[in-house]
Symmetry: C2
C-alpha cells in the first residue's frame, strides 16, 4: 500500500494477512476455499488497523499477540458479514457475489460459524479480557441487528434509534478492536483502554453513517455495492430518516420506505428525492461530528505517527467513496 | 426428575437451568423470547450432565464454575442446533416447530449467533483452557458438517467416513463437556482430563449412532421428529450405510438414497427395506461397542455414585427411545 493510509504499520498489517490466511486453511478443501473467498477479498482492514495503531500509540513495542488479536477481530467481523449477507439477501459484497450466492445457504452458515469459532479461538490463546471485549461486541451486534429489524419499513424510527442500532451493529466491534490494542500496550491501565474504546466507538459511528450515505450517493464501481439496497430492504438508515422529515419530499419517501414491495426503480426515485432535501448535508455533518468527537478523545494521548494515523483513519472514514 | 437418571446431581442441574434462563434475558424482548423458545424446550441435557458428573467423579467439590461452564456448553450446543435446523430445512425439534419456522430465517441466524457468543462469554469468564476445549469442538463441528454434506446422496460413504463425520459433528462437544468437568476437579491433571474426554468422545459416538437409528425405528410421539428425515435429506447415516451393503435390498436402498428428489413415501419404502436387512442389529452392535469402550475407559477411575451415573448415562444413550 505505497503512500497509503497505513504505511507506518504496513509490516504488521502484512503479518495480519498471513495469520488470516493460515486460519483459512481448515483441512476441509471447500471450507478453506470459502474462507479464502471471503477473507482474501478485503478492504482496508480498519478494525485490525485500529488494534495495531492503538498498541503503538500507547507505547506498545514488539508484541506478537496484538497481530493475532487484530487478525481475530477481522475474522469475527467477516464471519458476521457472511451471516449478514444471508439475512439481508445481499447480492454483492466488495464487488464479488456474496458467499451464500456462490456456495449456497447451508454451507455458508457453517462457514460463518467456523470463522466465528476460529476467530474466538485465536483470541482465546491471548487473554480472557481480550475475549471479553470481542464477545461483548458480538453480543451487542445481535442486539443491534434485532433493533434494526424492528424498524425496517417503520417510520417511527428517529436519529436516536438509529444511533442505538449502529452502536450495536458496527461501533462496538471497532471499540473492541481499539481496546485490544490498548490492552496489549498497557494491560492494567483501564483509563487508556477505555479512551481507546471511546475513540473507536465514536469512529465506528462515523464509519456507519458514511457507509449508509454511500447507499445513496455511492458509485457501484467504487463501493462494489449497488445504491438503493438499504431502501429496497427498508433499512432504517440516517439519510432516509432525515429525508423523511422533509416537509415537501418526506411524504413520498415515507411511502416508498414503508412499502415492503419497494424495488430498485422506486429506490432510485427515493434517492432522487433524498438528494433534493438537506439530508446528505445533515448526514455529512453528523459523521463529521462523530469524527471530531473521536479526534478530541485521542488528542489526550501523546503525539506520534500512530496517533496521527488514527486521526487520518477517521478522516478517511468520513471522506471515503468505498 | 424423580427417580431419574441424574438424581445425584439434580440440584446442580437445576442451577444450570437457572443460569441458562438468565442468559436468555437479552434486553431485546423478541430475542429473549426466541432464546427461551429454544432453551426451555429441552431433553436430558446430557452435555452439562457430563461436565458435572465428571467434576464430582474426579473428586471436585463445591465449585460454582462447573455449573456455569456446563450451562455454557448447553448454550453453544443449542446455538448450533438453531443453525443446523436451517441448514437441514428441519421442521420439528423436540416436538416443536424449529425456531426458523416460527420466527423466520434471518432473526434465527442472529439468535444462533447471539447464543453462540453468550455461550463463549460465559465460558470466557472461567479459564482459557476451558474456552479452548469448547472452541476445538465448535471448529470440529464445522468440519463434520462439511464432511457430511460431501457424502449426502453419495453411496461412496462407508462406516469409516461416517465415524469421522459424527466425531466432528457430535462427539467432540461431548468430549469438551467432560473435559471441562474434569478440568475443574483436577486443573493440572492432563491424564484425568484426557480420560474424561476419551470417555465422552466414545459416548458421543454411541449417542449419534443411536440418534441415527431413531430416524429409522423411532416413534414421533417419543422423539418429536418424523422418521425418515435423514433419508429424505440424503444424510449418510449408519443404518443406511449398512443397509446399502445388503445384496438383496441394497440396490433399491441405494437408488432412493442417491436421488435428491426422495420424498417421505420413498423414505418409508427405504425404511421397510432397511428393516429387512441386518442393519438395525449391526447399528445396535456398533453403538454398544462404543458404549462398552466408554465404560472400559471410565472403569479406571475410583467407584462412586457419579461414576455409576456416568455408566447409566451411557446405557441410557444406547437404549433411549427419544
Amino acid at each position: 500500500m505505497a503512500g497509503g493510509l497505513l504505511d507506518c504499520i504496513s509490516d504488521e498489517m502484512d503479518h495480519v494477512d498471513e495469520i488470516i490466511d493460515g486460519i483459512c486453511e481448515s483441512g476441509t478443501p471447500e471450507l478453506t476455499e470459502m474462507c479464502r473467498y471471503v477473507l482474501s477479498n478485503h478492504g482496508k482492514r480498519l478494525r485490525p488497523a485500529m488494534s495495531i495503531l492503538f498498541y503503538h500509540a500507547l507505547g506498545g513495542d514488539g508484541s506478537d499477540s496484538v497481530a493475532s488479536t487484530a487478525a481475530a477481530v477481522e475474522i469475527v467481523h467477516n464471519a458476521t458479514l457472511i451471516h449478514d449477507d444471508i439475512n439481508d439477501a445481499g447480492e454483492l459484497r466488495r464487488g464479488a457475489k456474496a458467499l451464500y450466492r456462490e456456495y449456497g445457504l447451508s454451507k455458508s452458515i457453517v462457514a460463518g460459524d467456523y470463522l466465528y469459532a476460529m476467530g474466538f479461538r485465536l483470541l482465546g490463546t491471548t487473554s480472557s479480557d481480550i475475549v471479553g471485549y470481542v464477545l461483548d461486541a458480538a453480543v451487542g451486534l445481535a442486539g443491534g441487528e434485532f433493533n434494526q429489524r424492528d424498524y425496517e419499513h417503520n417510520t417511527d424510527v428517529d436519529e436516536a434509534q438509529y444511533i442505538k442500532i449502529i452502536g450495536g451493529k458496527t461501533a462496538r466491534l471497532f471499540e473492541a478492536s481499539a481496546k485490544c490494542g490498548a490492552y496489549y500496550a498497557r494491560p492494567g491501565d483501564i483509563e487508556a483502554i477505555d479512551l481507546a474504546g471511546e475513540f473507536a466507538f465514536l469512529a465506528g459511528h462515523a464509519f456507519q453513517i458514511a457507509d449508509d450515505l454511500l447507499d445513496i450517493i455511492g458509485d457501484v464501481k467504487a463501493t462494489g455495492k449497488r445504491v438503493g439496497n438499504d431502501i429496497v430492504d427498508g433499512k432504517p438508515t440516517i439519510p432516509v430518516i432525515y429525508a423523511m422529515e422533509d416537509p415537501e419530499y418526506g411524504p413520498r419517501i415515507r411511502e416508498i420506505f414503508t412499502s415492503s414491495l419497494t424495488d430498485y426503480k422506486e429506490a432510485e426515485e427515493a434517492i432522487s428525492l433524498i438528494l433534493k432535501t438537506d439530508s446528505v448535508e445533515r448526514c455529512r455533518a453528523l459523521a463529521t461530528a462523530y469524527a471530531d468527537r473521536a479526534k478530541a478523545v485521542i488528542s489526550k494521548i501523546p503525539d506520534s505517527v500512530y496517533r496521527e494515523t488514527l486521526v487520518n483513519v477517521v478522516d478517511y472514514i468520513v471522506s471515503r467513496d468505498r
